[in-house]
């Protein structure tokens, strides 16, 4: 494999009975890149990410994440990645700090657990929220807490499934500042989104539509393939329209 690639997907497919949720996608993601997966509802974004995280077994194709094959070495993949699911996946009946403590323990942090929790609270701007039950946090606060939990063990690759859905613009901007900082420090970040204004923030992106890749490259490259005057938003609408 190419050492420079944090993620390699080769003909990756997932079928649920007759439904081809993901139908043979191939892409590479370079280390330290912010990679966007865009697509309308039901296009297979979550399914793709779940296969890359070892949550679903691919029907066909292979994928390596952080140098390990997701089907043959899921345990190696799991300790190298961080994952934030589309739904809030933390414990609402634990406080923010307890959630951090739990995930730190689960990722095997021991002596530096306290230091990492302090780092996460500082970096994710959670300092005053530590004692609050996470069910009582706002959308943006929850999202930063979940991000903090998934980063405690210093993952090489971070998967974020619609992290900014339902979050206000100010909170989204704060979130993206944090993400950019992480990428600059070398973390590879894969993000799915519906928001077209966010697409410009990606180093490269892939459009998924009905389980297949319809466009793939840097935002500029993608725009070029569809015509110079098109915004990404136009392309998105056009791709979505061709589905119906």
């Amino acid at each position: 494999m190419n050492a420079a690639h944090a993620v390699e997907a080769r003909g990756l497919a997932k079928h649920f009975g007759a439904l081809k949720a993901v139908d043979g996608v191939t892409f590479d993601i370079a280390a330290g890149e912010i990679f966007g997966i865009l697509g309308p509802n039901g296009s297979g974004k979550t399914t793709t990410i779940r296969m890359l995280c070892g949550l679903l077994t691919p029907t066909a194709g292979t994928a390596t994440v952080a140098g390990s094959d997701v089907t043959t070495h899921p345990d190696r993949v799991k300790s190298a990645i961080g994952y934030m699911s589309q739904a809030f996946g933390l414990y609402g009946d634990l406080t923010a700090e307890e959630n951090l403590r739990f995930y730190g323990g689960v990722y095997g942090l021991d002596r530096d657990l306290g230091a990492r929790i302090a780092w996460a609270e500082d970096r994710m701007k959670l300092a005053e929220l530590g004692g609050r039950l996470s069910a009582q946090l706002s959308g943006g606060q929850r999202q930063r807490l979940a991000l903090g939990c998934s980063l405690l063990h210093r993952p090489q690759v971070l998967f974020l499934d619609e992290p900014t859905a339902g979050v206000d613009p100010a909170a989204r901007r704060l979130f993206w500042t944090i993400i950019r900082g992480l990428a600059d420090e070398g973390t590879t970040i894969i993000v799915t989104t519906h928001y077209m204004d966010e697409a410009e923030r990606f180093d490269r992106l892939a459009f998924l539509s009905r389980g297949t890749l319809t466009a793939y490259g840097t935002p500029t490259e993608v725009k070029r393939t569809f015509g110079e005057n098109m915004t990404l938003e136009d392309i998105f609408v056009q791709l979505q329209g061709s589905e119906a």
């Binding site: 994952y83 699911s85 996946g89 933390l90 323990g105």
Partner: protein, 375 residues
């Protein structure tokens, strides 16, 4: 198995348990409440059993005997019965709880120094009440006998033959279960029912709330998740056991005749078997409501077939066989053996082996069924 990861998940379960006050209260309160309810229900109405009399003899002697029974305070007269069937019917319909049947030759036989037979029928569905009634009837029978003997003093009597023979026939509950019998049963029922439901919900709840997905992408292994979910509830089970034993001792005078340490050892096995079953259930269903339903599916056989309510010896063969498939059946035999008879480990190993087998089987099934993926 990584100690740090296991510790994290056990700690998390405890924090959640502490925060869920309602469930915590249920887990600790219900066992004691059930015991108290059962215990008092059984102890009530020990005295003043409504009693019908079928007196064929209709003599002074027979009326004297009935008067003596009434004087014990255990029996209250209701309308007399015209015949034997009428006396039984009175008990069946609940009009009476006991019936005194005095045969036609009662007075004649007493006068001839022959043993006279009196039958006291007691509705034994309520064990403690019937037991004291039976005791009273026998006591009166004996007292009357002694009196008759004394009156005949001087005459040569066959020393073995008591002149008045009160035959007490307990109806409907030949085993005569008492609170002593109930307490070990309640311990088993409660441990099994509460623990099965709670663990059955454990994984399903995480699946429903979306936390399972986040848990599965961590390096936690299947074994760590299973064990981490079970361990806190082993503690809960032991606390429940202690609560019931303590309340049983102080409120109902249930003394453990055998080794208390042995009870805890056996209960530990039984708790693990119940938790394993709960976990297994939680891998079969995807909704909490379904988890509860499947757990309740075990409730009825536990009550009916384990020997908790009905003696297993009297069951049809098939029912008794099915009962053997319930961990509770074996645990009840163990508990009654230790609490009532003071039996030691030497005669309990078949049941112990059964419980160990159940534990191993359920946990293996659960681990096999629980894939560390979302499929």
């Amino acid at each position: 198995m990584n100690r740090g990861r296991l510790r994290a998940i056990v700690w998390k379960e405890f924090v959640q348990m502490r925060r869920d006050r309602a469930t915590l209260g249920m887990m600790l309160g219900v066992p004691v409440m059930q015991l108290v309810l059962f215990g008092f229900a059984i102890r009530q109405e020990v005295r003043h059993l409504p009693t019908t009399v079928f007196d064929v003899s209709r003599t002074q002697e027979s009326r004297l005997f009935v008067d003596r029974l009434i004087a014990t305070g255990n029996f209250d007269l209701v309308a007399p019965s015209p015949d034997y069937a009428g006396a039984i019917r009175a008990i069946d319909t609940g009009r009476a709880r006991a019936a005194i049947v005095i045969p036609e030759d009662y007075a004649r036989r007493l006068k001839r120094n022959e043993p006279a037979h009196v039958q006291v029928l007691v509705d034994a569905t309520d064990p403690t009440a019937s037991q004291s009634a039976i005791g009273a009837a026998q006591l009166v029978g004996q007292a009357t006998s002694v009196e008759i003997l004394a009156r005949r003093a001087g005459a040569t009597v066959d020393p073995g033959a008591t002149p008045l023979d009160v035959r007490v026939r307990p109806l409907y509950n030949p085993a005569l279960k008492s609170v002593l019998f109930i307490v070990p049963g309640i311990i088993g029922m409660i441990l099994s029912n509460i623990l099965i439901v709670i663990t059955a919900m454990a994984i399903v709840r995480e699946r429903e709330s979306g936390t399972l997905e986040q848990l599965i992408v961590t390096p936690l292994t299947r074994g760590e998740i299973m064990l981490g979910k079970i361990m806190p509830y082993v503690g809960v089970g032991l606390v429940q056991l202690t609560a019931v034993l303590v309340v049983g001792y102080f409120m109902f005078g249930v003394h453990v005749r055998g080794s208390v340490a042995l009870i805890y050892l056996m209960a530990l096995l039984f708790i693990i078997a119940s938790l394993g079953l709960g976990l297994f259930i939680s891998t079969l269903v995807t909704r909490q409501a379904a988890a509860i339903q499947v757990s309740f599916f075990f409730l009825l056989p536990n009550v009916l077939l384990s020997g908790f309510m009905f003696p297993r010896e009297a069951m049809p063969k098939a029912a008794a066989w099915i009962g053997l498939l319930l961990p509770l059946t074996h645990f009840l035999q163990i508990m009654r053996g230790i609490v009532l008879k003071g039996v030691g480990i030497a005669s309990l190993w078949p049941q112990m082996l059964a419980l160990a087998g159940f534990s191993a089987a359920f946990i293996t099934f659960a681990a096999l069924r629980f894939h560390k993926s979302l499929e």
